[in-house]
Amino acid sequence: MEHQRSVSGLSQSPRSPSSQPYLSVSVTDPVKLGNGVQAYISYRVITKTNFPDYQGPEKIVIRRYSDFIWLRDRLFDKYKGIFIPPLPEKSAVEKFRFSAEFIEMRRQALDVFVNRIASHNLLQQSEDLRTFLQADEETMERLRSYETGIFKKKPADLMQIFKDVQSKVSDVVLGKEKPVEESNPEYEKLKHYVFELENHLAEAQKHAYRLVKRHRELGQSLSDFGKATKLLGACEGQALGKAFSDLGAKSEALSVKLQKEAHQLLMSFEEPLKDYVRAVQSIKATIGERANAFRQQCELAETMKLKEINLDKLMLTRSDRVGEAEHEYKELKAASEEATRRFETIVRLMNEEIVRFQEQKTQDMGIAFHEFAKGQARLANNVADAWRSLLPKLEACSSA
């Protein structure tokens, strides 16, 4: 399956203005709005595209975090079976502080989120995506506030039948004690893999976060050490004192480098790991959806069978309720077929998604590892250079 090339978050000019369809999005310019508890961040979302339904070639809208959540929820609802790209966490606490780092991390994560959707061959077709990228702010706000419940319910939908069935048919009637589950060994293996993976990743992410902290702490201690050494140098005076002071100055300079590297580490290594964890959690949500779909399929199939038996009975007795029963049976059959179709779609999609997911993650982690290694090598080089530069003077001191 051909996937569209994943575009980076930076605005790019289209490769060719003509036939190649492209959809490129960037989330930029976070601005803090509002006060106190009401404060929030708004982002500029810039869309460059030649898609037919879009206002092109470029459109800029203002969006906030809850708009992204709206988009994710809509996609999750509509595209069951697809691993919807994850969003950065809602943070009740950080929100109040809104540190520059937090804002930048969130912006980066939102940018990645939208771009993953834009580059997914199915998701990019979504109407909701188009709304998100194009609608004006008032419309967006209206949609956002509809999100709670009412908007979801469509009585004509087969969903209603599903819901009715669920409430009527109990496990006892079906003769089962526990909820219905697939008995697919390969799928079991996948589920087990996903759950285990989350644990492993969470641990790795935890240590990555601690590593960031360690960099900050080492930076701080170098700064303090530098200051103390400079004071000692001032006290000592003469050549030795100068040596101490120089050492102290280098130490302070290195402290700055360490703080910088800590930030880099956070953005390019720890955040991708967190993103990985979130992605796995998204898969878990899809697994849940699949289980629901499977259960619905089973329940409807069972109910349909019962209805069929009942109908046959009624036909034999030439009851005047046959028409009604027939009609109900037809509806149920359609619903059952729909449920089966939905389930099978989910299964098919998931199989494709898992391949895509593994490949994507290898890419993402490859980049993260590369940046991590580069950063550590760069830092170590800085350290070596800084200290090494002191040696000639120290040698001179000794021979003096």
């Binding site: 980076s8 293996k189 996948l190 893999y193 492993h200 990743l201 641990e203 790795a204 935890k206 240590h207 601690r210 590593l211 902290k213 360690r214 960099h215 080492l218 701080q220 201690s221 170098l222 303090d224 050490f225 200051k227 103390a228 004071l231 000692l232 006290c235 000592e236 030795l240 040596a243 050492l247 898992i354 391949v355 593994q358 490949e359 993650k361 290898t362 982690m365 490859g366 980049i367 590892f369 590369h370 290694a373 580069k374 550590q376 090598a377 170590a380 080089n381 350290v383 070596a384 250079d385 200290w387 090494r388 530069s389 002191l390 040696l391 000639p392 120290l394 040698e395 001191c397 000794s398």
Partner: protein
């Protein structure tokens, strides 16, 4: 292709603990070219544990294995970055990545007697020798073999008092000792006695302070731990004594180190001078500072005197030298502050380096687990590729973790010099206190003399009014004159003592200045070389990973 498989890698077991991680055999050129591959890991564990156990610095320095290579300074230096932007100074920076740190060799004579004994062999060409004379003779002292013994004298409780003795072994080539190797058993009480006697005999000198009695700790700690702690402290103390150019040749130390059986150094209980109370004493006994108990009266007299001084009553004769001395004293005080402050920050730095190493290792371990997991459960090739990438990173992280910990162990050794000098500051205080108490004695005697003189004058004046003389008064005058003579002698002795102590102070201050410069420079060099060496090693490790994952790089 990124993430090449590393065939030698052991994937057999899940690594549940840090020990397992350290047992990890990493097949890779950076470690395998050390011939003592296995040794380095086991000694590494001990370095690691000694760091994690002690809160400040390990009491016994960790032993790192040497490679068969000799001093890298003898071999031609390897230039890491030929295109380095370093200014072409007269020294081309060699690669310290190949610096191999020799173990803390107890047999290395050069290191033993000096405060900078924690410096390393590799910077022996960097390190200045303190004085050319001391490099050939040595006194090497070890304290070992603690044994529990019973108090043999009559005690109320049968099987009563037990105490520990330590075997003190000395090896020396100094002829004064009469023998080149000898040992004695001593208990802590003997060390206290030695210390007290030295304090009396070598007033004005910077005498290394003895280990604390640690009464509370001796109750609270586990016996073995306490005894071991004490053993180490004693060894350090004796080594410092042996490192002092004057004290190492003292009778007191000789007796302590050589004479078998009960220590013939009596604990000084009785400070002579009661002459101020009216008792006739030998002049030289006067010059010892007053201590508690029977010298109470003298103490009061001296207290009165020092109070009088403070209140500007009878000011001591202000000698030009005193002002210089006061400046020096203030400077020393400031220096002490700065050293103390710096050593505190060192502790924080060491902890931060330690933590960095630990977390890096834990991260590596987590990725090892992930690698294993992905490989076991792999359904797609992309997973295997990712697993290989992870292993690459994990291996590097674990190596880097080890380097951080090694770096730290060395950092501690180098910067320990700061702690040593803090200890020395106590000795300096002691020496300055000797001086001020000697001065106080002189002033007390001067003041006493003037009191006696005026009393004598009054008596004579009164006596001369009576014709023919006043027998009792004349007798009193005679006695008084005798007292004055003795006090006069005592004053002279006291002045000589004071001058002697001042001279000792001066010499010691000069010695301190000289030695401190050398020690601190060595410390700085050692610290810097160490940092450079390990930073280079760590950089190499990560550069390799960056290289191997370069295929993922977004843009050039």
């Amino acid at each position: 292709m990124m993430g090449s498989e590393n065939p030698g890698f052991e994937e057999a077991h899940l690594f549940a603990s840090r020990e397992e991680m350290e047992n990890l055999v990493l097949d890779d050129p950076l470690t395998t070219h050390h011939p003592n591959n296995n040794n380095s890991y086991s000694s590494f564990r001990s370095a690691n544990s000694s760091i994690s156990e002690s809160t400040h610095h390990p009491l016994s320095p960790p032993v790192l294995s040497t490679s068969a290579d000799s001093d890298p300074l003898l071999s031609p230096p390897v230039y890491r970055n030929p295109n380095a932007s370093d200014n072409n100074s007269y020294i081309e920076p060699p690669s310290y990545a190949d610096v191999i740190f020799s173990p803390f060799d107890e047999n290395s004579a050069n290191e033993i007697n000096r405060i900078d004994s924690t410096s390393q062999d590799t910077d022996s060409s960097f390190a200045l020798s303190r004085s050319s004379s001391s490099s050939s003779d040595y006194i090497k002292i070890t304290v070992s073999n603690p044994k529990k013994e019973q108090e043999t004298t009559n005690s109320l409780v049968p099987g009563g008092n037990t105490y520990y003795t330590y075997l003190i072994t000395t090896r020396t080539n100094i002829p004064d000792f009469g023998s080149s190797e000898f040992s004695v058993r001593r208990r802590f009480r003997d060390v206290v006695a030695l210390s007290d006697r030295l304090a009396e005999a070598y007033r004005g000198y910077f005498i290394p302070p003895r280990p604390d009695k640690n009464v509370v700790e001796s109750q609270v700690m586990q016996k073995q731990d306490f005894v071991e702690q004490r053993r180490v402290a004693l060894e350090k103390y004796l080594k410092r004594l042996a490192g002092h150019p004057v004290i190492r040749l003292s009778d007191e130390l000789k007796v302590f180190l050589q004479v078998e059986g009960r220590l013939p150094l009596s604990v000084s209980t009785d400070v002579a001078s009661r002459m101020l109370d009216g008792t006739v004493v030998a002049p030289h006994e006067v010059v010892q500072p007053a201590k508690g108990g029977r010298d109470l009266l003298r103490l009061f007299k001296e207290l009165r005197q020092s109070v009088a001084n403070d209140w500007g009553g009878s000011k001591p004769p202000v000698v030009e030298e005193d002002k210089l001395f006061m400046e020096k004293k203030e400077w020393i005080h400031d220096l002490e502050q700065q050293i103390s402050n710096a050593s505190q920050q060192v502790e924080t730095l060491v902890k931060a380096q330690q933590d960095m190493g630990e977390t890096m290792g834990e991260l590596g371990l987590a990725f090892i687990k992930l690698t294993k997991f992905e490989n076991e459960e792999a359904m797609y090739n992309s997973q295997r590729v990712r697993a290989a990438d992870m292993k690459c990173v994990a291996t590097a992280a674990i190596k880097a973790s080890r380097f951080y910990r090694e770096l730290n162990a060395q950092t501690v050794k180098h910067l320990d010099t700061l702690h040593e000098y803090l200890g020395l500051m106590l000795a300096v205080h002691g020496a300055f206190t000797d001086r001020s108490s000697a001065l106080l004695t002189v002033q007390t005697l001067l003041s006493e003399l003037s009191t006696l003189h005026s009393r004598a004058e009054k008596l004579e004046a009164a006596s001369s009014k009576i014709f023919g003389g006043d027998k009792s008064r004349i007798h009193k005058i005679e006695e008084l004159k005798e007292t004055i003579r003795i006090t006069e002698d005592a004053k002279n002795v006291a002045i000589r003592e004071y001058e002697r102590i001042k001279e000792n102070n001066k010499c010691e201050l000069e010695r301190l200045d000289k030695e401190r410069r050398v020690d601190f420079l060595n410390m700085l060099k050692g610290f810097v070389v160490n940092q450079v060496g390990y930073a280079e090693k760590i950089s190499d490790v990560w550069a390799k990973v960056a290289e191997e994952t370069s295929g993922y790089a977004k843009d050039s």
